[in-house]
Amino acid sequence: MPVQLSKSLAFALAFSTIAGAGVALAAGSHSGGHGHGPAIGEPGDGAAADRTIEVVMSDNYFEPEHLTIAAGETVRFVVKNDGEFLHEFNLGTAAMHATHQKEMATMMEHGMITPTGIDHEKMQMDHGGHGMEHDDANSVLVEPGATKELVWRFTADTHLEFACNIPGHYEAGMMGEIDVTKPAGSGS
C-alpha cells in the first residue's frame, strides 16, 4: 500500500485496515487475503487467563524476545514501557506486521502518533464516520512510563511475532518470536 497518497485517501485506507477492532483475527484477513494463513488466535477473557507474561519495552527492544505458548492457552500480557519513546505491542504474523507498519507510518505522518506519544485528539478525530483509533484487539500502544494489558487466547500451533510497528522500530529489531505449540495433551 503506497504511503504517499492524498490525505483523504490515506486516511480512508488507514480506516479500512485499522477499523474492525474486536473481531477474531486470522492472519489471512490482514496479510493479503490468502485465507489459509495460521490463525493468530482471539481476544481472551482476563478472568480466564492461564498465566501472565510480563513484557518490558525499552528503546527500541523487548525483553524477553522469545516466548513459547501452548495453543489453547489464554495469556494476560502485562506490557510496561520503560523507554522514552512510544512503543507498540502487537501480536501477529510477519506479514501482518508489514502491513501494519505502513498504517503506523501514515499515523505518524498525520501526527496522530509522535515518536514519544499519542495525540489523542487527532487520534479520535472523526473522519467520515470512522474513528481513527489505534484499537485493534491484538495490539496496544504504550506511552513512555505506562503499563497496559492485553489478554489473548492462542488457538492454533503456529509461529507468531510480537512487534513494535512504530516506524523504524521493527526494522531495527524491536520484535520477538512466539512459538505456539500444540495444545498440552493433544497427543497429535
Binding site: 528503546d59 527500541n60 529489531g173 524491536m174
Partner: protein, 598 residues
C-alpha cells in the same frame, strides 16, 4: 596514573609485542573491580597494492589497505603501540574517539609525531561505543592508505538487533602520489592567466553585458579554472569497498531473513558517496558512532569521514549489489551482499553528474566565494580515462579500468565542449516542500534516491539518547568556509591555517558554531576532542556528530559543550582542503588540567 597503567598492561604488552603483523589482543582482567585492558600493535609501512591495474606502493597499517578493524569494548583501557617503519614521520588519530589531547595523534598539537624506526604508545580508555575509524594525521599519508576501522562494543546491549555485521570502509585510491596531486593543484593556476572573479563581480559584469553573456563568459573561464579542483582531483580515482575495486567485488555473506548490520565508514580523502543497495531498504541506526532513532531510507549520502550504521534484512536467496556512487559520478565503489560466495547482482549504471545551479552559489554574503568550484558540474568526462556518465549496462571489467590516472597531465587543456551552459544556473528549480533543508533551495546537489524513495537528510537524524542537556549557547562563533581556487588554498574566514590565530574556547562554555559556506564545494568539518551537536531542528534530540557537512550556499549551526581541555584540530576533512589551509587550532583553556595530562 601512568605508572599504574604501565604496570597493569605490561604483561599484555610483552605477550603481544612480538607479533606485529596481526592485531594482537590480550585482555587482562586484573584487580577488583575487574577492568578490561587490551594491548594492540599497529605497524605503518610500505606495501604494494594493485587496485587500478598496476602495482603501486601504498602506505599500509599491518600490511593492508585499509588497515585492520580494531575491536574494543566500552570501558576498556587501551594500550596501542604504533611502530613506524617509514622513512618519514607518521601518526595515528583516533577519529571520533573522545581522548585526552595528548593521545589525539595530531603532530604539532597533541605530540611530536612518530619518528621513523620508533614505536609510540597511545594510552586511553574507550569511553564510548560505536563505529569509528583511525588514520594518519601526518601530511597526506591517509590518501596513500593509512586508515583503518574501529568497532567499540557497548557495555550494555545494543538498542537494536542484528545477526551479523560487516564493516564497510569506502575509500578513494589514486595512482598518483598525493604530494604530486597537490603540487599539480597548486601549479595549475600558472598555466592560465586569469583574474579571480567573485559572484559580486559577476553581477557587475552582468550590468555591462547582460546576465547571460556575463554568466556564459564566466562559465567558460570558470570551467577551466575549476579544472584543478575537480578534474585533477576527482577524476582518476579508483573507488574501493574494504580495499577492493568494483571488479574485485568485496562480498559479505548472509542467510536470507537475517538482519545484517553494515558499518559504513567514509575513509576517502576527497570523495562523498551516495550509498544504496537496490532491493533493500536500509534502517539507519547510528551516525558518527552515536545511536539515532531508527529511520528507514533507500539511500544516504556519506560525507568524507562520517560513519553510518544501517540494518538491512535481505529475505531472498539472491545477491544484492552495494552501490556507493561518488557525488561526482566519476566511477563507482561496488560490493555485494550474497547468500553464497561468487554470486553477483546487476550493477546499475552511473547516474548523471549533478549540476550545480545558481542556488549553490547564491549565498547572501559572497565575498569569499570562488566560482571556480563550479566545476562540480563540469563534465570531467571529457578528460581521458574518466568514466562517462551515464553508463547503463557497464560491464565489470570496464569499471575496473575506467578510472585511469591522469592527474599528471594538465587536464585543463581538455576541451570543455560537453559543457551545458543552459543547464547551469539559468533554470532555478523552485524549492519543493520536501526539499532537504541542508541544501540551498534549488541546489543541484540535493540528493534524490535512485528508486524515487527516501533519501536520508541530516534533518532525519535524531539522537536515540541525548548525550547533553539542552541549554542556550554562551556565545556564537562564525566560521566562514572560504577559498581561493587559483592558488589552490582553502581557508576559514579568509585565512589559511598558517595565517590564523587559534580559536580560544573556555572550558565549561557552550559554543555555537555558525558555519557559512561561501564556496561551491561541500565541506565536511571535523572538530577533534569534543562532540559537535548538529542543530537540525530536533531540539533535545539533535544528534551528536564528529563531522558536520556543509553544502554550498548554506549556513549550518552546531553546538559544542566545551568539555575537553587542551589543543585540538578543527578542519575540513577533504584532505587537500585541510592540507592547504582550511584548518584551525582550537585551544580549550581552563578546566581540569589533569585530564590534559596523559
Amino acid at each position: 596514573m601512568k605508572t599504574w597503567l604501565n604496570a597493569r598492561n605490561s604483561r599484555a604488552a610483552r605477550n603481544t609485542r612480538a607479533a606485529f603483523a596481526a592485531v594482537g589482543v590480550v585482555t587482562a582482567l586484573l584487580g577488583v573491580p575487574p577492568a578490561l585492558a587490551g594491548t594492540y600493535d599497529l605497524t605503518i609501512g610500505e606495501t604494494t597494492i594493485n587496485v587500478s591495474g598496476s602495482d603501486r606502493t601504498a602506505l599500509a597499517i599491518n600490511g593492508t589497505v585499509p588497515g585492520p578493524t580494531l575491536r574494543f569494548k566500552e570501558g576498556e583501557d587501551l594500550v596501542i603501540n604504533v611502530t613506524n617503519t617509514l622513512d618519514e614521520d607518521t601518526s595515528i588519530h583516533w577519529h571520533g574517539l573522545i581522548v585526552p589531547t595528548s593521545q589525539d595523534g595530531v603532530p604539532g598539537l597533541s605530540f611530536d609525531g612518530i619518528k621513523p624506526g620508533t614505536t609510540h604508545t597511545y594510552r586511553f580508555p574507550a569511553q564510548q561505543s560505536g563505529t569509528y575509524w583511525f588514520h594518519s594525521h601526518s601530511g597526506l599519508q591517509e590518501q596513500s592508505g593509512v586508515y583503518g576501522s574501529i568497532v567499540i562494543e557497548p557495555q550494555g546491549r545494543e538498542p537494536f538487533r542484528y545477526d551479523r555485521e560487516y564493516v564497510v570502509v569506502l575509500s578513494d585510491w589514486h595512482d598518483t602520489k598525493p604530494e604530486k596531486i597537490l603540487a599539480n593543484l597548486k601549479k595549475q593556476s600558472d598555466y592560465y592567466n586569469y583574474n579571480q572573479r567573485t559572484l559580486l563581480s559577476l553581477f557587475d559584469e552582468a550590468e555591462e553585458k547582460g546576465f547571460d553573456a556575463a554568466l556564459a563568459d564566466r562559465l567558460d573561464w570558470g570551467g577551466m579554472r575549476m579544472t584543478p579542483t575537480d578534474i585533477a582531483d576527482i577524476s582518476g580515482y579508483t573507488f574501493l569497498v574494504n580495499g577492493k575495486n568494483p571488479e574485485q567485488n568485496w562480498t559479505g555473506l548472509f542467510a536470507p531473513g537475517e538482519r545484517v548490520r553494515l558499518r559504513f565508514i567514509n575513509a576517502a580523502a576527497m570523495t562523498y558517496f551516495d550509498v544504496r543497495i537496490p532491493g533493500l531498504e536500509m534502517t539507519v541506526v547510528q551516525a558518527d558512532g552515536n545511536n539515532v532513532q531508527p529511520v528507514k531510507v533507500d539511500e544516504f549520502r556519506i560525507a568524507v569521514a562520517e560513519t553510518y550504521d544501517v540494518i538491512v534484512r535481505p529475505m531472498e536467496d539472491q545477491a544484492y549489489t552495494l552501490v556507493a556512487e561518488p557525488l561526482e559520478r566519476g566511477g563507482l565503489a561496488r560490493g555485494t551482499l550474497a547468500p553464497r560466495d561468487g554470486m553477483t547482482a546487476e550493477v546499475p549504471g552511473l547516474r548523471p553528474r549533478p549540476l550545480l545551479t545558481m542556488a549553490d552559489m547564491s549565498h547572501g554574503d559572497m565575498e569569499g566565494m570562488d566560482h571556480a568550484a563550479m566545476g562540480h558540474s563540469m563534465p570531467a568526462a571529457e578528460a581521458p580515462g574518466a568514466v562517462e556518465p551515464p553508463m547503463s549496462g557497464m560491464d565489470h571489467a570496464a569499471m575496473g579500468h575506467g578510472t585511469m590516472p591522469q592527474a599528471d597531465g594538465p587536464p585543463a587543456q581538455q576541451p570543455m565542449s560537453g559543457m551545458d551552459h543552459a543547464a547551469m544556473g539559468h533554470a532555478m528549480p523552485p524549492a519543493s516542500a520536501d526539499a532537504d533543508p541542508f541544501y540551498a533551495p534549488g541546489s543541484g546537489l540535493t540528493p534524490k534516491a535512485a528508486n524515487g524513495g527516501k533519501f536520508l537528510s541530516y534533518a532525519d537524524l535524531k539522537a536515540q539518547r541525548p548525550l547533553y542537556e539542552v541549554r542556550e549557547p554562551t556565545r556564537e562563533i562564525e566560521i566562514r568556509l572560504t577559498g581561493n581556487m587559483e592558488r589552490y588554498f582553502w581557508s576559514i574566514n579568509d585565512k589559511k591555517y598558517s595565517e590564523a590565530e587559534p580559536i580560544r574556547l573556555t572550558y565549561g562554555e557552550r559554543v555555537r558554531f555558525k558555519f557559512v559556506n561561501e564556496t561551491m564545494m561541500t565541506h565536511p568539518m571535523h572538530l577533534h576532542g569534543m562532540w559537535t551537536i548538529l542543530d537540525n531542528g530536533n531540539g533535545k534530540w539533535n544528534p551528536v556528530k564528529h563531522v558536520v557537512s556543509i553544502a554550498p550556499g548554506t549556513t549550518v549551526l552546531a553546538e559544542v559543550e566545551v568539555d575537553a581541555p587542551g589543543r585540538w584540530a578543527f578542519h575540513c576533512h577533504l584532505m587537500y582542503h585541510m592540507a592547504t589551509g582550511m584548518f584551525r587550532e582550537v585551544i580549550v583553556e581552563g578546566g581540569p588540567q589533569a585530564a590534559a595530562l596523559n
